[in-house]
């Protein structure tokens, strides 16, 4: 398999308090090349942690991940990451940000040309000499996507990339992402807590539950794109997932409310 997660577990250990917290255990996912996979779940299910592990930013405590048979244990340019915050470098202009990962491998001229191609893809060619503070949130996120793509990664990891954007911008960028995915044929691992977003974009949705984090369902989506929100199949799927998540969300709520109760007493 292209991307393979075998029995991954993650436990955070707080050495000062001498306590540990198990985020999830025994996660098994295999992803074929070119697939658009969403990981969906309530807060606290460990979906972002899982993505960080694939990125190599964090280590597993159990199990292993491999990409094309090669084990992952540190970050690398074969995996591009887009965060919820654009995380661009304000001291560089737009093009400078996109060429950031390329400067070691390519000459300035080649890196610039390469970057321009991806800036064109996210429709920011006109802004290549602008600085980050001059861009809107949606534009910044497009730069971040271009930067991740410019490394030519095998997998694109996206951690709620549109979570901080307004509704309008989010829809535009979702459509844009689908275009880019079709054009570049990348494998995409997309973390979100929005059921609609997951249904609109993915080939497959992995639904995660919480306390402890685990996979509760793995749903393939065979619907034709573009998928309209009013489509009967889309609505049914949405209700099905909502049903699955209800128990999980209630679990979180209950815990948070009881916390509140304990604090006030």
């Amino acid at each position: 398999m292209f991307l393979q997660m075998e029995n991954i577990g993650k436990t955070f250990i707080d050495q000062e308090k001498q306590s540990s917290f198990e985020v999830f255990s025994d996660i098994r996912i295999t992803i074929p090349e070119n697939q658009f996979v969403s990981i969906l779940g309530p807060s606290g299910c460990g979906k972002s942690t899982l993505l960080s592990i694939v990125a190599g930013l964090e280590n597993t405590t159990e199990g292993s991940i491999s990409l094309q048979g090669k084990e992952i244990n540190k970050p690398g340019p074969d995996r591009g990451m887009v965060f919820q915050q654009p995380s661009l470098f304000p001291w560089l202009d737009v093009r400078g940000n996109v060429t950031f990962p390329l400067r070691k491998r390519l000459s300035k001229q080649d890196a610039d040309n390469h970057a321009d191609r991806f800036l064109k893809m996210v429709q920011l060619s006109k802004f290549k000499n602008h600085y980050i503070y001059e861009l809107s949130g949606g534009m910044q996120q497009r730069v971040a996507i271009a930067r991740a793509l410019a490394m030519d990664p095998k997998v694109l990891l996206m951690d709620e990339p549109f979570g901080a954007l307004d509704e309008q911008t989010r829809h535009i960028l979702q459509d844009k992402l689908l275009d880019i995915w079709q054009e570049t044929q990348k494998t995409i691992l997309f973390v979100t807590h929005s059921i609609q977003e997951a249904i609109k974009l993915s080939d497959r949705i992995i639904v995660m539950g919480t306390r402890p984090g685990r996979i509760i369902s793995d749903i393939p989506i065979d619907l034709q794109r573009p998928r309209e929100r009013e489509d009967r199949n889309v609505i049914e799927l949405e209700q099905h997932i909502m049903e699955l998540l209800k128990i999980e969300i209630n679990k979180v709520l209950k815990e948070e409310l009881s916390d509140e109760f304990q604090h006030s007493s």
């Binding site: 990451m81 965060f83 995380s87 661009l88 001291w91 950031f100 503070y133 930067r147 490394m151």
Partner: protein, 253 residues
Amino acid sequence: MNFSIAVKRMIFLVVVLGIWQTIYSLNIFEAIVFPSPSTVATTLYEGFASGEFVEALGASFKHLLAGMSLAIVIGTIVGVILGKSKQADETAGMYLIALQSIPSIVWVPLAIMLFGFTEFSVIFVVVLGGTFVMAINVRSAIQNVSPQLIRAARTMGTKGMELFYRVEIPAGIPYFMTGIRLAWAFSWRALMAGELLSNGPGLGYSLSYAQDYARMDQVIGIIIIIGVIGAFMDHFVFSKLEHTVRKRWGLLR
């Protein structure tokens, strides 16, 4: 600058000069300890025309430039070490605050005993005046690099020294600029303290010389020069520079 603000400031200045002139005219104090605004203005003009003040200023700026450059270099090195090494910060970090809280004039006797009444003593005091505040800010610069930017850089395969000079250093530039502005402010104060007790040349030395000859007009004139230069450099050079950097770094809207 807003026009009405400029007008308000002009009016304020005129009022202050008016009060000064009025008190002078009432003859409460002897003219030798309380000169008129026009006497001070004439002294200032003559001082610059004769080249006396220009020479003193030149000497002062020479001391300042030498001292501040050293303070920035040493402060940066110390700050980077403390910012990068938790061990070093835990061991020596607190003493940095202690040293920073020592007024620079306190170093003058030490400098004179070590190096005598030389220009080197003055520079030494200026260095001590600026180094600690620079070090404190560079340490903050290194410690406050957004972890998110580091994570982003790491996903692009950046690590080690490359991470340091391609991400941590540029990310810290705004703090670095604040450090330079404060280093200037502290160095300028230290410079005057050092020169007051030196054998010249320099603006501070001219000030103590004027005091020895009971030239209140010169004393006030030099105090005005010191204040004007301090305000001018802060407002038009360092604050501007800091503002430009902070804007580019997205730290203000």
